[in-house]
């Protein structure tokens, strides 16, 4: 990412933080400080380098907040996240939502697509299953709905499988199983490949 782009994002980030109501300097500092613990696994700046760990940067504010609420209430069960979220207050959650959503999102992978046929199949599946109805045309998410574009491919696959098997609960519990129930595992792979590489 260019320096200019980074600076632009930093400006947007500051504006977003102000708008979100996490406006005081202490709130900002507290959210940034808390987020450093997230980055240990989720990658510096919230851009994950680990295939099964999602990027957090640029996820919609309310999506991040809801996932933390689900982890805290054990509605969504991931041991390490349940433990971390159990210590978060509502204010912490609001701060993390505002801060992480303000970070520049991950970019499409630089190397050429090794499975273009999978990408085409994924694009067709995304169209047929109305993914954009909620996740938006550019798959950047909105409200409590996740950003999918350029998320880690293996994490996307895991999430799709978890919705299909019913392991993943909480938000989207009606719409997501509905979207993935009829899909086979090859379909899920195609979707994950397409979305991870989305341009």
């Amino acid at each position: 990412m260019s320096v200019r782009r980074t600076l632009a994002w930093a400006g947007i980030a500051a504006a977003a933080l102000a708008a979100a109501g996490a406006s005081s300097a202490e709130d900002l500092a507290a959210a940034k400080e808390k987020a450093r613990a997230c980055f240990a696994c989720h990658g510096e700046g919230g851009i994950s380098r680990a295939p099964e760990t999602p990027s957090l940067a640029g996820q919609p504010d309310n999506f991040i907040q809801w996932q933390l609420v689900y982890f805290r209430s054990q509605t969504r069960k991931v041991e390490v996240m349940n433990a971390i979220a159990s210590a978060l207050s509502d204010a912490d959650i609001r701060g993390l939502g505002a801060y992480l959503s303000s970070l520049p999102p991950p970019q499409p992978p630089g190397e050429p697509d090794d499975r273009p046929e999978l990408t085409r199949a994924g694009a067709e599946l995304a169209r047929r299953n109305h993914c954009a109805s909620c996740h938006t045309e550019r798959f950047v998410g909105q409200g409590a709905i996740a950003r999918l574009a350029n998320q880690q491919e293996r994490y996307l696959l895991k999430a799709l499988r978890d919705f299909k098997s019913g392991v993943r609960r909480g938000g989207g519990v009606a719409a997501m199983p509905d979207a993935v129930y009829p899909l086979g595992d090859d379909d899920l792979r195609a979707l994950a490949h397409y979305l991870a590489r989305f341009r």
């Binding site: 309310n62 907040q65 809801w66 933390l68 609420v69 689900y70 209430s73 054990q74 509605t75 069960k77 509502d90 959650i93 609001r94 939502g97 047929r128 299953n129 109305h130 954009a132 109805s133 909620c134 409200g143 409590a144 709905i145 299909k164 019913g166 609960r169 909480g170 938000g171 519990v173 009606a174 719409a175 199983p177 509905d178 979207a179 993935v180 129930y181 009829p182």
Partner: protein, 425 residues
Amino acid sequence: MSIRSKARSVAVAGISAAAAFGAAALIAAGAAQAAELHHYDSSKRSFWEHPPADWFLGDETEAQKGLNVPAAPATGIPAEQIEKTLKQIKLPKGFKISLWVAGVPSARQMAWGNKGTLFVGAFGVGNVYAITGPEGKKEVKVILKGLKMPTGIAFRDGALYVADIDRILKYDDAEDNLDHMPAPKVVYDDMPSFPAHGWKYLVFDKHGWLYVAFGPPCNECLPPTSVSQIRRVDPENGLAEIVALGVRNSVGGDVDPRTGDYWFTENARDWLGDDIPSDKLNHISRMGEHFGYPYCHQGNIPDPKYAMGHKCSEFTPPVLKLGAHVAPLGMKFYTGKQFPAAYKDNIFIAEHGSWNRHQYQGARIVRVIVDPRGRHAKQEVFASGWIKGKQDYLGRPADIVEAPDGSLLVADDWASAIYRISYGK
């Protein structure tokens, strides 16, 4: 009970008017038409775990694209902001609304214990809450967590009942064990496990029957014979019987104190348009009557695809058309003494508000005046003002319960709060 045997017993439950009706409908459909319709093979275990998808049916128009279920603020709304909203809520003269308690994430159905505890179920967050303490100093305690969309709860003879999608749980002596809830007994589990329209509302009648609705796993489809119905369950022995058929998504109901009859709210299908079909208030006047889904909506609109030759006159019409996409949820007959005498035996309905409509409507409390047989029904808006602009909310009423003093409590799963509506001083 294993899932396999559960599927079998669900099938057994369908030996009844439901099965006969389903078979007749299939024959009536004819081969040519049936080929275009979504249909289900519910004889296999896989169906009960993963029903086919048709939430959107693939037929929403370009103009409807982008309408989707809005999400509440994850951590609720701070009390001071709620107080501000409540100042804008319109009520009839003499009534007032105040914040009873905040910080009850995704609060849905409410039920009183017999020692003054208010129990509250929840939607996305898998919690059940107990609210205790004196007015103005209410304490919210999470007494159960990690459940599957426990929207529906009920209380009877010291026990708390919770609907956990595919089983109804009973917690004995709940009120004496709020800090350490006892292990539950499963009192009924002849229920599918899919989440789509799987969240519930629980209502006891005075004989101990527990009314529970089973929604179809779709927006519009020809569902298998053991869903799209209301059953009543005897938690003492786990037996159940079907009381209504042809019901889409019902998450609200109450027993008429005048007759003992069960009345219920019903959410109509989506994607037909902003102004049709209307959501409904229904009354069961005889066992097993059919309310029209998926063939007929709001009593007079045959489904464009699924009517399959059926006429609306074959089905029980609603007592009242509540409006398109108003999303009626919890309802209660008013039996208290605090409100003016004209309110006695009226129905209050919590309308959750739209998602499948360009300009949201609902998100209000409606008063219905109707005779015990469902005649001469009229409705008026009782409390409103929670819609913000075209597609946003300040709050969404989800359930209503009467307090011992005759005031109404309203659960709001958007603000994660409970309000009190009182009359007079």
